[in-house]
């Protein structure tokens, strides 16, 4: 077996050997990713010990017929804050349709387990919540789209649902519920919110999402990796670049494709531009939600200017269609790249003046401070990442913890706040925009002149194209990639069989971060909900897939 582990991973492996009663079987390892096969008894032993050592469950997913095993295989991906390595525990329930739940130990597992239950029909014994997740009432009972037996195609929706989706009931004197959505009163994505309130203050909130479930993971099945880049871009519109990069990185690692430095640098520049426009939208949105158009406008203007820069660089305002396996589809015109530093200088001046104006308004500070607090204690159990975690005192950033691409040589300046309220998130997001501007300036300096495709690009492009047809078979393998999108850490896992995608799992930062909102709103008044929601900026599309 090809085992090239870094120190971090070796340390992780020895920690696990120390905790586990029986030695787990090492399935495979890469530089900072190890897969350990573990027995049912071993699994029960090890999970509480991992929780004690502050491991977060960053992903939990299932695959059918993995590496010649019959039936199902479960993957539990764990990571410690600040460490690069990812530990994947592989559990093989085989044809068994019932396994034990870990939601009691890792709360972030609850949605993952419900998701697997919907997709594959696996039950989790002792689960806290057995309701369906992404399959709403319009789907038949017993329909499990991610099973191999189901061939993708139209299904007939249920006319009259037999089961009602039961929301959590909060009873007591003066408690009443406010149902909101799925269609909201503005230009935003659909989702349902159930507020239980006593007068103005919110007592409890339950969210129901997945109205936009489009079946992206199933659509990827059987496609060639190059065909799937567009699907990755469609996971969430304002994370197109991050998700395309994440998907490509996972395939590149699995196939051993190395990306030239120029392409890595350009990818990083675009990732930072995406971060800037995304965060600018948040700053503007937060100001709008407290009725402060004078502060919001300059942020929106800057955002549109970034969109236009994106178009000049790549031909797409959302940086779509430029990322391919092994590098970039085309080089970026020098004329557009040369314009960037001057643009960013102008940008920074306008940005600082807009930020000063925001921070010198006492009414804005009054609404922002102490609103929507997310406690630091929630970060690890719920796997909260991105600006949200950094505003609550946790410095986690995938670009720094587990550097990839050009971030191996160019790290952003870290920024942390401790209060965890809306104001902290506003400040953090502003800091991150400044850091991204500086990073782009550094990335554009002395850019190497070379092709933007991998040397073995031909092979890369042909992965899967000719397999099966003329007998030649492509790569078989699997790999996990983590990227830092504007909202936090996104996880991409691909499993290739003969060069075709057999299973593609995406988990965006929003998927985990959404669960913070039910905690953040407690005790706040209903009119502050839109502000809290905006300050977290969660993607519905990126969650619903």
């Amino acid at each position: 077996m090809d085992v090239k582990m870094n120190e971090d991973t070796k340390e992780l492996l020895s920690t696990i050997s120390g905790i586990a009663e029986e030695e787990p079987e090492l399935l495979s390892a890469r530089e900072n990713e190890i897969y350990l096969k573990i027995s049912e008894a071993g699994f029960e032993d090890i999970t509480p010990a991992l929780a004690e050592r502050k491991f977060s469950l960053i992903g939990l997913f299932c695959a059918e017929v993995f590496e010649n095993t019959d039936g199902f295989t479960l993957f539990y991906a764990f990571k410690q804050a600040g460490k690069a390595s990812v530990l994947v525990l592989v559990r093989e329930p085989g044809k068994e349709k019932r396994v034990s739940s870990v939601a009691g130990i890792f709360p972030s597992a609850s949605w993952f387990e419900r998701e697997i239950r919907d997709g594959f029909g696996l039950d989790f014994a002792g689960a806290l919540d057995n309701r369906r997740l992404f399959l709403h009432e319009c789907y038949h009972e017993g329909f499990h789209p991610l099973q191999k037996a189901f061939k993708n195609g139209p299904v007939h929706p249920v006319e009259t649902p037999s089961k009602e989706y039961k929301f959590r009931q909060v009873k007591g004197e003066g408690v009443y519920q406010i149902p909101v959505g799925p269609v909201h009163a503005g230009i935003i994505e659909p989702g349902h919110f159930r507020f239980s309130v006593i007068g103005e203050p919110i007592f409890s909130l339950e969210i129901r999402l997945f109205y936009k479930h489009r079946g992206i993971e199933k659509l990827a099945e059987g496609k060639s990796p190059s065909e799937c880049v567009a699907l990755a871009e469609a996971v969430s519109g304002d994370e197109s670049m991050a998700n395309a990069t994440g998907f490509c990185m996972a395939v590149e690692q699995a196939c051993g494709i190395s990306v030239p430095e120029r392409a890595e640098r350009l990818r990083a520049i675009m990732l930072e531009l995406e971060r800037i426009y995304s965060l600018l939208g948040d700053l503007a949105g937060m100001a709008v939600d407290v009725g402060f158009a004078l502060v919001a406008s300059p942020f929106s203007i800057l955002r549109e200017e970034v969109f236009r820069q994106n178009e000049k660089l790549t031909g797409s305002r959302f940086l779509r269609g430029i990322t391919v396996l092994g590098g970039l589809k085309k080089d970026i015109p020098d004329s557009a790249l040369k314009e960037l530093p001057a643009f960013l200088e102008k940008f920074s001046r306008a940005f600082e003046s807009a930020y000063d104006r925001a921070m010198s308004s006492s009414s804005l500070i009054d609404r922002f401070a102490t609103t929507g607090v997310i406690k630091k204690e929630l970060v690890s159990p719920l796997n909260l990442t991105g600006p949200l975690a950094r505003a609550s005192g946790c410095p986690a950033d995938t670009r720094i913890d587990r550097p990839y691409g050009a971030y191996r040589d160019f790290a952003p300046e870290p920024s942390v706040r401790k209060r965890g309220d809306v104001l902290s998130r506003f400040e953090i997001k502003a800091d991150e925009i400044r850091a991204s501007v500086n990073l782009i300036l550094r990335l554009t300096e002395n850019l190497p002149q070379e092709p933007v495709f991998a040397e073995n690009r031909e092979e890369a492009e042909n992965i899967g194209q000719n397999s099966g047809k003329n007998g030649s078979s492509g790569v078989t393998g699997y790999s996990l990639a983590l990227v830092e999108a504007a909202r936090g850490q996104n996880l991409h896992w691909v499993y290739l069989k003969n060069g075709l995608i057999d299973r593609y799992k995406v988990r965006t930062a929003s998927y985990c971060n959404w669960q913070a909102i039910e905690h953040a709103v407690i005790g706040n008044i209903v009119p502050d909900f839109p502000l809290i929601n905006k300050s977290l900026n969660l993607s519905y599309a990126g969650t619903d897939l």
């Binding site: 992404f134 709403h136 319009c138 789907y139 789209p145 993708n152 195609g153 139209p154 299904v155 929706p157 799925p182 269609v183 009163a185 503005g186 230009i187 935003i188 994505e189 659909p190 997945f210 109205y211 936009k212 479930h213 489009r214 079946g215 199933k218 659509l219 567009a230 699907l231 871009e233 996971v235 969430s236 519109g237 304002d238 197109s240 939208g281 004078l294 406008s297 300059p298 929106s300 203007i301 800057l302 955002r303 549109e304 200017e305 969109f307 305002r317 959302f318 779509r320 102008k346 001046r349 306008a350 003046s353 807009a354 000063d356 104006r357 010198s360 993607s539 519905y540 599309a541 990126g542």
Partner: protein, 170 residues
């Protein structure tokens, strides 16, 4: 700290970036002239996301930013379908949203128009073969105008709206 007086004394911040776009202005003026032919003084639009990847919504909300500022052309985005003349639908219709899409349409007063914005809304786009979508919006609503693009730019969306207004006045 900003001195409040400086807000009045110093030049406007928007002047850092010059963004007057003649094509957009002409387009807007034309829309402004066309609207009263069918819709009274202004055009009320309700946006409905039936399962998009959110890029199309971003472009639609960009229509309100200072570069485009379409309210000056008589176009406003309203909170309720009850106030709307036009329903702008984005994204392929997912099974999970189908019921809500129908109800939103039914809540609109007649006469009403439906515009599909973006490739996915036009014909299902990238999700065409998925179990989770019904394909384009025209599968469940009568669509009067389709604006393709992945996603269409704010200007393209505006052109589509103009085309619809012209079509409606015939």
């Amino acid at each position: 700290m900003v001195n409040p007086l400086s807000l009045f004394l110093r030049p406007k911040v928007t002047e850092t970036f010059k963004f007057r776009d003649e094509e957009l202005e002409a387009l807007g003026e034309e829309i402004k002239k066309e609207i009263p032919k069918v819709f009274g003084h202004s055009l009320a639009i309700r946006e409905l996301d039936s399962g998009s990847d959110n890029s199309t919504e971003i472009e639609i909300s960009n229509l309100g930013n200072p570069h485009y500022d379409v309210e000056r052309f008589g176009i406003s985005f309203v909170a309720s379908p009850r106030h709307a003349d036009i329903l702008l639908v984005t994204g392929a219709v997912t099974l999970n949203m189908a019921e809500a899409v129908k109800k939103t349409y039914e809540a609109m007063p007649s006469p009403k128009f439906v515009v599909a914005v973006g490739d996915d809304a036009c014909d299902g786009g990238i999700y065409k073969d998925s179990y989770a979508v019904l394909s384009g919006v025209d599968k469940i609503l009568p669509v009067d105008m389709k604006i393709p693009g992945n996603p269409p730019s704010p200007k393209e969306i505006l052109k589509g709206i103009l085309a619809l207004v012209k079509k409606a006045s015939k």
